[in-house]
């Protein structure tokens, strides 16, 4: 056992793991984190606490992760390479471990110009850091944990024991290099991988075949990403604008049909699309889990945490395994 986290225990048990996502608020009020944590608790093995996602200032991942943890939800703290140099990263990792956190997902982070895809002011004029990249950050965590050393070589009296994660976008350009990207993260020390949202099952399965041929599925636990669709508009947006995400036409048509069935009734259109979205998510979960080499799902019900219990139950993934610490 590398970290002893609940997520690690579930993965080691061989049962399909379920992770969720919790986005901290743009507020100093902890109640939203507490509320979301209590909705997700019991319906996932751990929940990612995003680190200023879309390059917008929110409660920090570590602080929100501790709040979630106090509510009984196991967090996966996230750490972007955008905002910290290796000194701040390692200091925060020691602090996070001292506070009891045991999972960490390493990501590059949305560029500071993103500002919630232009919906918020954000901080597009901020200086970015990128002292190290994701691969290097994974390596730093591993070195701290397994060698008890800082990146620079100084010893750590007590090493932080993190279950180390990284993200993977299987279907972004350059597509034939994506398996190499994954290989490098695994070689650096990624224990688990959460993928970008998958709608194109055929495309994902083709990439997974390459991954199996490389043996990577045995060296890391790949959790397939599911982004729960909320509307036809959201699916169209993701298809056209989100890197590495393509949405097959039949899925967009299903959602459009659900919307059209409501006629001019906007409230009903929303309800019908949400119901269809949940159905689509459940189907995608099953298809992803049926893909050889996949060890779980990472379900993102973005700003829609209340959808999680129904989805997890409908997918046959409830109750979540209870594996006591050894």
């Amino acid at each position: 056992m590398k970290s002893g986290s609940n997520l690690e225990r579930v993965i080691l048990s061989g049962q399909p793991a379920v992770t969720a996502e919790l986005g901290p608020p743009m507020s100093a009020d902890p109640h939203e984190v507490i509320k979301k944590a209590n909705i997700l608790k019991g319906y996932c093995d751990a929940a990612n606490i995003t680190d200023c996602q879309t390059a917008v200032v929110r409660i920090s991942s570590i602080a929100a992760a501790v709040i979630a943890f106090q509510q009984g939800l196991e967090p996966v703290m996230q750490m972007t390479c955008r905002d910290r140099n290796r000194i701040a990263m390692q200091a925060d990792l020691l602090g996070a471990a001292a506070l009891g956190l045991r999972n960490c997902l390493c990501i590059a982070g949305d560029h500071q110009k993103f500002s919630a895809a232009g919906r918020l002011k954000g901080h597009p004029g901020a200086k970015n850091v990128y002292d190290v990249d994701t691969c290097q950050l994974v390596g730093i965590l591993k070195k701290m944990r397994d060698e008890g050393k800082q990146e620079g070589g100084d010893p750590l009296e007590v090493a932080p024991k993190f279950f180390i994660g990284a993200s993977w976008t299987p279907m972004a350009d350059p597509i034939d290099f994506r398996p190499i990207n994954l290989m490098k993260k695994v070689n650096a020390g990624a224990d688990f991988i959460q993928t970008q949202g998958i709608y194109d099952i055929a495309g994902f399965r083709s990439q997974m075949e390459t991954i199996r041929n490389m043996g990577l599925h045995e060296r890391t636990a790949i959790l397939g990403g599911i982004i729960v669709p909320k509307s036809a508009m959201m699916l169209k947006y993701m298809d056209s604008s989100v890197a590495g995400v393509s949405v097959p036409k039949p899925l967009i048509e299903r959602m459009t049909k659900a919307k059209d069935a409501a006629g001019d009734d906007k409230k009903k259109a929303k309800e019908l699309q949400e119901a269809e979205g949940i159905k689509i998510a459940v189907e995608l979960i099953q298809q992803v889990l049926e893909t050889p080499g996949v060890r779980g799902v990472h379900i993102q019900a973005i700003e829609w945490e209340s959808a999680m219990p129904g989805i997890v139950k409908a997918a046959g993934l409830y109750p979540r395994p209870n594996i006591p610490e050894a």
């Binding site: 560029h111 972004a172 290099f177 290989m183």
Partner: protein, 238 residues
């Protein structure tokens, strides 16, 4: 070359409006090629300042001048008596030129007449692109001659992030994804497997992060010193 771009005239006017004698001083190397700060542009900027002064009812003497380079004393030394007649030099050289002249001119301020943008190339007339970040530790042999430090918006060293969209960067559809270019280029060169190796955390101390940098060539300095000490040849200079 060093690429510069013009500053808005309002910003220039704010800098110069309280001076009586202004010299717009152009540099005829890099910033002339990019149409930002050569003698020709210095002349135009001087004319714009004179027009603005007339509009605002201010009496300012504005002239222009240009030399080949602002980064070596031998190029501007011959005109320094002329330059020192003014109470402000608006330099349209790059930032190097502004610094270099500031340290040598005495009690006269040297202000920047352009923005120094980056080290770049000229892919087509009127277009300039950033290609090098001057990081002090070149790794282009590992990346197919395409620099991820200058050209990846996140200076990633181990491959693309998840933001590559149709070969473009997540920052803008007008920016090529450097890693897309690197991968395609290395496929063509048959050296893609070089990218399989993990690049460890970089030592940025050779970059600006290590403080201002200096290169000192001791053998050149020793040679120059020796030359200076040599007696004049018989018969004197021709």
């Amino acid at each position: 070359m060093i690429v510069g771009s013009q500053k808005p005239i309002d910003e220039i006017w704010d800098m110069v409006k309280d001076f009586k004698k202004v010299l717009v001083f152009g540099c005829n190397t890099c910033v002339a090629i990019c149409h930002a700060g050569g003698e020709k542009e210095a002349e135009t900027i001087a004319a714009l300042i004179r027009m603005r002064a007339a509009q605002e009812g201010k009496r300012i003497e504005v002239n222009h001048l240009g030399v080949m380079r602002h980064c070596e004393p031998e190029y501007f030394d011959p005109v320094m008596d002329e330059v020192r007649r003014y109470d402000l030099v608006l330099s349209t050289a790059c930032g190097v030129g502004v610094n270099f002249l500031s340290e040598r001119i005495g009690e006269i301020p040297v202000y920047p007449g352009i923005n120094t943008s980056f080290f770049g190339g000229v892919p087509e007339a009127g277009v300039f692109t950033e290609l090098c970040a001057g990081c002090g530790n070149c790794i282009l042999h590992l990346t197919g001659g395409i620099c991820p430090i200058a050209r990846c918006s996140k200076t990633l060293m181990n491959g693309p992030c998840g933001g590559t969209n149709k070969g473009k960067c997540e920052v803008s559809p007008d920016i090529d994804c450097a890693w897309y270019l690197i991968v395609e280029r290395m496929k063509k060169l048959g050296t893609l497997e070089k990218l399989y190796e993990i690049q460890p955390p970089r030592n940025w101390s050779t970059s600006r992060d290590g403080g201002p940098r200096r290169v000192s060539l001791e053998h050149i300095r020793a040679y120059e010193e020796k030359e200076e000490q040599k007696p004049e040849p018989a018969g004197g200079k021709k």
